[in-house]
């Protein structure tokens, strides 16, 4: 039956990216239960859209759907991070060399870096996850989060800077120099 073949093709082509889908959803929703719900819902939507899938990168295609599903969910829950409008143009990327607080990070432990990423606003968190964990190119990221290429670059820069600040502050508190 054609429907069964469609389903098998979908499972073969799309479900191989389940790990990537779960990782992204887990970072965007902060917990395992919601992440699983998001992945399930996204896969169902992907399955409905599958007849229209024209080939190309199936991982990017699925991650786009996962990301949008999570954003819809975040909006519905009215979490602060999305009700505060995200200002892309707050200020130019400051020159790091002029920043006297720049501490040089000698030892970065796992707990701190995980907390650091979790504390980022979602627009920063997603580019860090997609770039550093999923190892996607700027181009692929721009497709998934639907912004121009230059915005991907500037968001990553600001995300890393905020992460650096967080880690430096943590070290300050612990009195480590």
């Amino acid at each position: 039956m054609q429907e069964r073949n469609q389903r098998l093709r979908f499972e073969q082509l799309i479900l191989q990216h389940l790990d990537a889908a779960y990782n992204l959803a887990r970072w965007l929703t902060h917990n395992d239960q919601d992440a699983q719900d998001m992945v399930q819902e996204a896969c169902l939507r992907a399955f409905r859209f599958f007849p229209g899938f024209r080939g190309g990168d199936s991982r990017i295609w699925l991650l786009t759907i996962v990301r949008n599903t999570c954003y819809t969910w975040l909006q519905q829950r009215r979490l602060d991070e999305l009700t505060t409008p995200f200002d892309e143009e707050i200020h130019d990327i400051e020159s790091d060399t002029l920043n006297p607080e720049m501490l040089h990070l000698r030892r970065i432990d796992q707990q701190k870096i995980r907390e650091g990423i979790e504390s980022l606003p979602v627009e920063f968190r997603e580019v860090i996850v997609l770039r550093e964990l999923e190892e996607l190119s700027y181009k692929d990221i721009s497709i998934i989060i639907h912004v121009p290429l230059g915005t991907v670059m500037s968001r990553l820069a600001r995300a890393r800077k905020q992460l650096q600040r967080y880690l430096a502050d943590q070290m300050n508190e612990e009195g480590i120099q």
Partner: protein, 251 residues
């Protein structure tokens, strides 16, 4: 290359996204500038820490099974499962409705409730065209490029009209898939708003023009000369109506 320029391109350099020329310039600068080099090292340390610290979450073992079985259930598009997706309908009520409808269908009095399902499918098609960076298969503002593109891809030829001078430039065309058939979509723009115009040969007798709003999007349907048209956009209703009048008068 100076420090501000290096700072600006530093992240792209970290991510190997720069071309050869810029890459060499940054490397040259980093050889001579200790401040920028320290910045580079710090960011590189963060990146290394992220990768080294198993921050990639492990998928729970049960998720695969759970997703597969929900896909399998979704694949069983029986009449009953469509009816039960209407809000507030219980299974028992759905069964009663199902049986009654089956009887009515047998007498060809009743039109099956395809419309709600179809409307949602059309809206989904509109929304996903926006989100997955797949708005057009043939990008062209020229109707004489877009219309012939569909030859050999569809068993009908969709009318494509030029409304640029009226403020609705043509963006292009694409194939979409609705209700188990391939349909044509002609894509227009009005300022920043995308208008997707879905077209396919009409399978029913001509119906009245219908205007509806779903999840904030405006949708207008009409039939003309053996074709069903659906215009979908987040553009306001007045301008969308202007658009469809222009289409109706030109084709």
């Amino acid at each position: 290359m100076n420090c501000p320029e290096t700072q600006r391109l530093l992240h792209a350099y970290l991510d190997a996204e720069l071309d050869m020329a810029d890459t060499l310039e940054i490397e040259r600068h980093l050889e001579t500038c200790t401040a920028c080099l320290e910045t580079y090292n710090d960011y590189q340390a963060i990146r290394t820490a992220i990768k080294a610290n198993s921050l990639y979450f492990q998928t729970p073992e049960t998720l695969q099974k759970r997703v597969r079985s929900s896909i399998r259930k979704a694949n069983q598009t029986t009449f009953i499962s469509r009816v039960t997706s209407w809000p507030g309908i219980s299974i028992a009520a759905a069964l009663i409705i199902g049986v009654s409808l089956a009887l009515l269908l047998a007498h060809s009095i009743f039109t099956p409730p395809q419309d709600t399902y179809l409307q949602q499918a059309i809206l989904d098609g509109h929304v996903r065209s926006l989100m997955a960076n797949h708005l057009v298969d043939v990008p062209s503002s020229n109707q004489h490029t877009v219309k012939p593109w569909f030859n050999g891809k569809l068993d009908f030829s969709p009318p494509v009209v030029d409304l640029t001078s009226q403020g609705f430039p043509l963006v292009g065309g694409r194939l979409d898939y609705l209700d188990n058939k391939e349909v044509a979509v002609i894509v227009y723009k009005r300022r920043e708003h995308v208008i997707n115009l879905f077209i396919w040969p009409t399978t029913q007798s001509a119906s009245d023009e219908m205007d509806t709003t779903l999840q904030g999007y405006h949708m207008i349907r009409w039939t003309k000369a053996g074709m069903t048209y659906w215009a979908v956009s987040d553009l306001n209703q007045d301008e969308l109506r202007t658009f469809i009048r222009l289409v109706q008068n030109s084709s």
